[in-house]
Symmetry: D2
């Protein structure tokens, strides 16, 4: 297998480290450059000792990367800083962007939620939203893939097929999501200290989280009309994992069994999405470290309603794993390359 030279921009964060962890097993990749502005000059082993056994380049400042041999870039920079960086990349370089910068097709919606005008609107029109299972064809031909957010991945995988088939109503969709602390990244904030997160749970950004418009964009397309959702994230005392518990109204008299059957059909041949046997409840610990998504549907006690549960590892299927899945699609590698690791339990 010919190797693609890859640069990871923003390798000093958790998603950057996770890209390195997974790509270390990719026979078609050579990690040629790693950047980390605040930690430029340091070895990756000093920033992430768990990766100390690998032969990796040291961290560079972003503007020091030599792109002459680079075939692909994974961009794991903070939201808002990415647009100009990607706009300045050589045209031959394919990009998977893990930030939110190119996820919203409507730059007006972007400006409304992110507080500033989009800085690369032309590039936005070329960006493909990389929900891998549901946009394969477009991803294969893309130069720039906007990798979905962690919550939007967990929410859209069960909801989009059901909305598309008309089995659930687009009104009153309630997404109660629970995330591990790695979703907040590695920056040093009081709210993310061990003592502030352990032994407790609370909702945050209630009805006000930036992943809401991203979810609505996907659901609206599936439903064929504008969808507004309730999306309520919670911070959990665990490092990895997202559980989305989704409350929906069913249509056409559909039962949970019908919803489940539809999801089984859609995802039957997918290597990473698994609809559990009836009655089994998806648990985040059963996807930890893997690119898997587990889904199930349950009847509600309230007539005409159902409950969907969906779990992913936010750093893998919700970030770096899906990014590699997209990379594989863009570069013609088998889809599961570097993504065959099984979940780590316990």
């Amino acid at each position: 297998m010919d190797r693609v030279d890859v640069a990871i921009l923003g390798a000093s964060g958790y998603t950057g480290a996770e890209l390195v962890r997974l790509l270390a097993l990719h026979p078609g990749v050579r990690i040629a450059a790693l950047t980390g502005d605040r930690k430029a000059g340091q070895t990756m082993a000093s920033v992430f000792p768990h990766l100390g056994g690998l032969d990796l380049p040291d961290l560079l400042a972003l503007d020091r990367v030599d792109y002459s041999s680079i075939g692909a870039v994974f961009c794991a920079l903070p939201h808002g800083t990415t647009q100009e960086v990607i706009a300045a990349l050589p045209a031959a370089v394919k990009v998977v962007d893990l930030s939110a910068d190119f996820r919203l097709a409507d730059v007006g919606v972007y400006a409304q939620w992110y507080g500033h005008e989009h800085k690369a609107p032309a590039l936005q029109t070329q960006a493909v939203y990389g929900l891998a299972e549901l946009a394969r064809a477009q991803i294969k031909g893309a130069r720039l893939v906007a990798n979905p957010g962690c919550y939007p991945t967990a929410a859209q995988l069960p909801l989009i097929p059901l909305l598309a088939e008309g089995l659930i109503l687009p009104e009153d969709i309630i997404i109660d999501a629970k995330s591990g602390a790695s979703g907040a990244g590695r920056s040093a904030k009081e709210a993310n200290l061990f003592c502030e997160v352990a032994e407790g749970i609370h909702a945050y950004s209630v009805a006000n989280h930036r992943h809401a418009p991203e979810i609505e964009q996907g659901l609206s397309a599936a439903a064929g009309r504008p969808v507004v959702v309730n999306f309520t994230p919670h911070l959990m005392p665990m490092s990895r994992g997202i559980l989305a518990t989704i409350y929906v109204k069913t249509a056409k008299g559909a039962t949970a069994a019908d919803l489940r059957a539809a999801l089984v059909r859609v995802y039957a041949d997918e290597p990473f999405v698994r609809v559990l046997a009836p009655g089994l409840s998806p648990a985040t610990r059963h996807v930890r470290g893997s690119n898997h998504c587990l889904i199930n549907a349950f009847d509600d006690r309230v007539p005409g309603r159902a409950i969907l549960c969906s779990v992913i590892d936010n750093l893998v299927k919700g970030a770096s794993g899906q990014a590699i899945h997209n990379f594989n699609l863009m570069h013609g590698f088998p889809e599961t390359t570097a993504l065959t690791q099984q979940p780590l339990f316990p």
Copy 2:
């Protein structure tokens, strides 16, 4: 203060230990008897080393208790075993029952959810449901108080006043609840091992949990008509705490501010219930070890909807603390006696 001799039946479980922890600071109580069938004959210090500094009677078998001096019984026995035990107690003994055995006024509903006929239906008619803030007068005159379940406490405290005032609709109430592992008790089950609970979350008993009818009983009374709710509990990697995130439809054009204002009015003088300042999100870690309940209301992005958050410590306000609150009411002690400990954070 004259002391009441108290027996705790089922003291070898977490709620039993929690009763002892709290009552150790109650100037009106003498712990006269502790039972624990499987551990009869052992010292409390060997069963719960954290209580080893107290002067406590050893654990007895249930049938060895001498009730001659006992004025009050806390019954923390497993569900289903309690009815006959309490029916056999001397009539002069006042009882707070922490099990589910006397919580459902309709013994038919009990039979349906617990799988057997109620064994003390006459006693059931005398039992008062002890949601302390909302049933004070009845509790004061009661001989037998059925202490509310942990989830029902967290759910009913915000919902009952709002339903009673007609500010929310009784339809489509969705209660997404997250609980620490102590709610499952101390019995040795694979599902409750550290490795099975840590670093993960999942829903359980989806649409099928026995606390649903208990919640519906209270909400139906408040709404003045039958209410069916969605109640979905989740097991969290923490020892204590319940967060109920509740999704409701508002009535009369009420906003979250209106809901909050109503709750402020109802709970203004309550020592244990606190409505947070607008925008603040209740966190279970901020009630840990205390008898507190924190509540807030938030507007939803979906028009006509709102979100309520409510947190308690499941072992205190959701069990032993509320039981002592009820005991204080029944015996004429100041309500906060033995319940003034502040939350333990971090």
Copy 3:
């Protein structure tokens, strides 16, 4: 009981909050002033929501405190900043200092470990080292008590009596200590993020921790000659608690039973120190939230050696609880006032 007006300097950290939590139940204390420089002007409820049910003054800048009514100060400021603050306090104010600034009697040793000359050497000569059980008489007469560090408390309580009685040798004492993350304080550092602490353990400051000279000071005094110890702290994935596992050589043919018997004699009447029954292993979870210290001694397989285990809650017996114990001694309150809360388990 007459109330003493108390100021807590540095109330925005964990030990400050813990002082407030405990003093809330002290009938002889009125919290008159709270300071927190970076958070001056904020309510205590916004900085520590778990204390939101109390009637507390807002946080002040340090230089805004009016000491006219203040009878006692708890000083919970960072190490190194405290000497000048305390030197500037009115002479009538009694002080318990929770920092390390007055713990080392020899200001030369202080300078060596803290990297700068001591700024109040005269005051240092008046300071009493407040290991409460072992320095009662001096503490009662002190104006300034240096509250022991968390690790030194856990290490010295078992070791000092055994050295003083000559039952163990002063050579080759090895103190392997494990601490919860709250020992690192509330400042936002990458190393203390949830994801960096959870699911792991490592040693830190190996053979180089500032608590070593503090421990050696106490042990040297007990042994009657200079003692150098191995002290190796570890960071644990828990919020509270310290376990010191101490490896010693016995003298005079003493067995673990002899060591245990000596400790039982010394601590027989102590309300906060408990020597466990033979064979029982002290666990940090059994002292959580309390001012308790549990100790035991075990024979080693290696002839002539023994193992001591000692546990405390680092924020209580290792900081704020012991500070209140010292305050009670200094002001003539019963020693256990505000310190009778039992441990919180689970």
Copy 4:
């Protein structure tokens, strides 16, 4: 690569599941049989949902395995039950035994620690102790490999080379070890419940743990004379990982730098053992899920002493990973086959 048909006996425990997780990526292995007596007849997906994406045989009762095609057995049965099982296997089947049954060369020592006579003493004489890095040649020719215990692996990897080179003294070696809860297995015991393990630490089996004689066997061989060690294990609130903090007396005037240099020499070409840069402290979280062992040496404050730290994942390098390493050696596969996964952090 030709595939070896493999049977895993005792696949319903954590080490069994971990063998499956790792072997799923082994191109030379076909998992042909899985046993689990109590769970016989169940699918592996129901017992371990995280493995639900694999095509695995259902669990069999132990006596139902057809060995006709089996080339290798991994035996992960409880201690004490294994001797007769392995004695009854066909002679052509190679065995890696993860239990303690064949680890002690002296069946008299076995009897003393395990409370019964060894049931296969003849087989014991053929068993090779599979500390992979230090017994390669013997392992390659073995039919039966006794896979080392988790604690013994963490302790012996740093100690054996240093004893063999005479850089440390065999007297007064103190091994303070900290383990995650998965070391206790998956059986349902009160002591291993989430609430009993979370937020706390304690020592257990003090001076009395069965891994002590296993460690002493290896150290005695290295030292050339009988060694008795202090070995004190602690239970930690984490699922995976062992840290051994080892306190030694140096010989020949050796410093920590000398010890480190010796370890660097010994392990320079090893794929799984890494001596960290001077001053860096090995953390269990940096080996999680991997077959890695990280080691370092530190000078002690006490003259003539040093501190060694060693970390492994108890389920991988301390059990299933090392077992596969041994399997690879026995069957001529490249040593790192199926063991190249990087650690999972955070």
